[in-house]
Assembly symmetry: C2
Homo-oligomer: 209 residues x 2
Amino acid sequence: MRQIQAGQKRKRAGWLPQSIRDAGSDRTRKPGEFLFRRDAPTVGLYEVVKGTVKLVRLDASGRETVLYVASAGDFIAEASLFSSTYHCDAIATTKTVVRLYPKNLLLREFERNAEAAQAFMAMLAEQVMSLRTKLEQRNIHSARDRVRHYLALNRDIAGRTVTLPGTLKDLAGELGLTHEALYRTLAEMAADGEIERPKGKIKLNPSAL
Amino acid sequence: MRQIQAGQKRKRAGWLPQSIRDAGSDRTRKPGEFLFRRDAPTVGLYEVVKGTVKLVRLDASGRETVLYVASAGDFIAEASLFSSTYHCDAIATTKTVVRLYPKNLLLREFERNAEAAQAFMAMLAEQVMSLRTKLEQRNIHSARDRVRHYLALNRDIAGRTVTLPGTLKDLAGELGLTHEALYRTLAEMAADGEIERPKGKIKLNPSAL
DNA sequence: CGAGTGATTGACTTAGATCAATGACCGTGG
DNA sequence: CCACGGTCATTGATCTAAGTCAATCACTCG
């Protein structure tokens, strides 16, 4: 549990100025309750503090299409800052705490504080990068290659060790695999000597070229 | 071919001020040539005008990990604006034309022109959204549901028709399916009456709830 | 007219999803 | 302090949808 927290904490960091961070206000939602609705006027940017929120779009017949499932540490509705209404619904799927950063406050800050603006841009740009990379990873069909891709991108400076951020189950989700598939793949890679698996880590074996 | 062009043109639009757009300079690269290298000082933001560029990271043993493959209309190295060096290599994979927007010019513009800064943020925020949605889509395992997800998100206002942006083959790539799988899935959906397929379009059949 | 590409369909194979069972571990409450 | 419920980790068996290989037809372009 602590490990997951740690992993999530590092998800996005302190890009917003303290003044704004302080201005955020927490809200609680029970499963099924809305954070905001499509076409409603935008009030600001949300950070998920605890729980999960799904962003969905409803079609005429009431069918919902999930755009994104946000969990602790994620920001949602960044784009709402530049739009007058929300373009999808946000619904809590668990007991959830979110923090709301008022839109006008943020925009005003960006206008007079170029540094804050840049920090925001940088954060977004990094997210774009990271998302593109994840998407790239999903183009890899073989489970083993997908794991390799992940390991290659997440090893430490020495390039030999990857520290697992949370449970393997979570990792499986992140990789778009079932946990069984991941367990098996790791077991095979270890059997082949491609990796070693000390507790909480994965060590890459250089011999596997 | 024109259809592909059209699809790509609309990928990202005119978020940057004319002054900057004019300041962009075109460069040509042959397959295998570098646009920039990791750890080299950042000079600016690139727009792929023609061809494709892969962003890769090399590990100690020379193995390359693909982070992203950019094609016409894509911007690359947005994050480089806020970093002093590139964090990966960019290599042309075909005969490629890119347009370079100098970093200092952009940053200066953002500093004095809050509107331009906001436009950039908005563009990034939209990209984040769109990428998240694509990633969400890749979590859907069934080809049919993946197609449904795509159709639901890309139908016109009336909600009954989706205009295909390019070839079905391209769409297959976008959906992370082989073209055969896509053809078959569409054929089945048509056979089941879930969709109709006039030339260049797909019509959703409301009866399929 | 022939080359190149997209669209389509068939046959076959397989990797990964699914269903299931088990052992290890952990925190909790009696 | 220990038994119990919950979750993670792991492995087995089975199934199936999607990938792979391959062939055909339609179109377009020079």
